[in-house]
Symmetry: C2
Subunit: 200 residues, 2 copies
């Protein structure tokens, strides 16, 4: 069985492991081009450096934080763009800072609605349904109202769905889209973490 | 069946939901003192405010961050102490800042060794064992050497196990212990997140 290994695959493995060209090629062939397994093969042979050193950045952008005065709430955020040139512009840095402040002030739990666990939505639906029944709303209306309430719930817990705190006529996603249009680059909020003192 | 509800439990539920005393007591009784379910009961009845507003801080301490110049690596950290008084001291703030810098510079993946997944350790053990066999080490020695290497691995990937970057004669945990002794309070690093641009 012959497995084709491209020069690009070999280069990537060399960058990650510091191993020689032929060794990388052999490791990729042995493992059917499974990158992670090839690294293990090289490490077992004592050729590759430890995994920790394999760290490499795949995209451009900025990692930044916002700590609310008083140090009880803080946010760490990563926003990606396509080039280092855009990442260094004040415009991009301002966008990242505004996004971090937004997450701190408005208290998002998730980045986008696809990330909200299904059981959390099911629980919210059940609660809203019971509330409406308690209020005596007719059954046929309930599902429609619940859908509306779930949309509102998304706009409270998902960062990109939230109304922008500095201009509530737009959503946070619109802010990102505007910046992408201005810079001409694909801009993505990759991840964020929000810590509130003493809270999970 | 009678369930005893303490005044303290009622107070806690009131703080979290904004509901009245009798309503809280009833909800706790109905749910066998299951706090989360009692909140749901109150919400279904339209009495409690939405869960998001239930946020409350359980401990004192500081949330802080350290962003490495160039904005490619950043750390968010929460460190807890017992009183707001200690949290406001320069000593405590310096500790938190040093811990954040440590995590950014030394690249920890976990807080303490108990958090490292068993399969990651199993994989490291397998790799180290294979390396030693490749080097021709006698089998009876291998397990002992592997144990030593695993300890070294912990001291690379666990923040509290790392040598302190500003004084490698002590571990990061010692730094925390020293601060606890000086302030006379229990000090715990609760959590941290480290983002490196383009990396998981």
């Amino acid at each position: 069985m012959t497995i084709t290994i491209t020069a690009d695959q070999v280069r990537q493995l060399r960058e990650q492991t510091g191993a020689g060209m032929m060794e990388c090629k052999k490791a990729l062939a042995e493992t059917g081009r499974d990158f992670q397994k090839a690294i293990d093969v090289l490490r077992k042979a004592g050729i590759a450096k430890a995994e920790k050193r394999g760290e490499r950045a795949a995209s451009e952008g900025v990692v930044d934080s916002y700590i609310h005065p008083g140090n009880r709430v803080g946010v760490l955020i990563e926003v990606n763009c396509e080039t280092d040139f855009v990442a260094r512009t004040d415009e991009f840095k301002d966008l990242v800072r505004n996004l971090a402040m937004q997450a701190a002030a408005a208290g998002a739990d998730y980045l986008r609605r696809e990330e909200v666990p299904a059981d959390r939505i099911a629980r919210e639906r059940e609660i809203y349904g019971a509330q409406l029944r308690t209020e005596g709303k007719p059954e046929p209306m309930i599902e429609k109202i619940v859908d509306g309430k779930i949309n509102k719930f998304y706009s409270e817990v998902c960062l990109l769905d939230q109304p922008y705190i500095k201009d509530d006529k737009i959503k946070v996603q619109d802010l990102v889209t505007q910046a992408a249009a201005k810079t001409g680059e694909n801009i993505q909020v990759r991840r964020f973490a929000r810590y509130r003192l003493g809270q999970d």
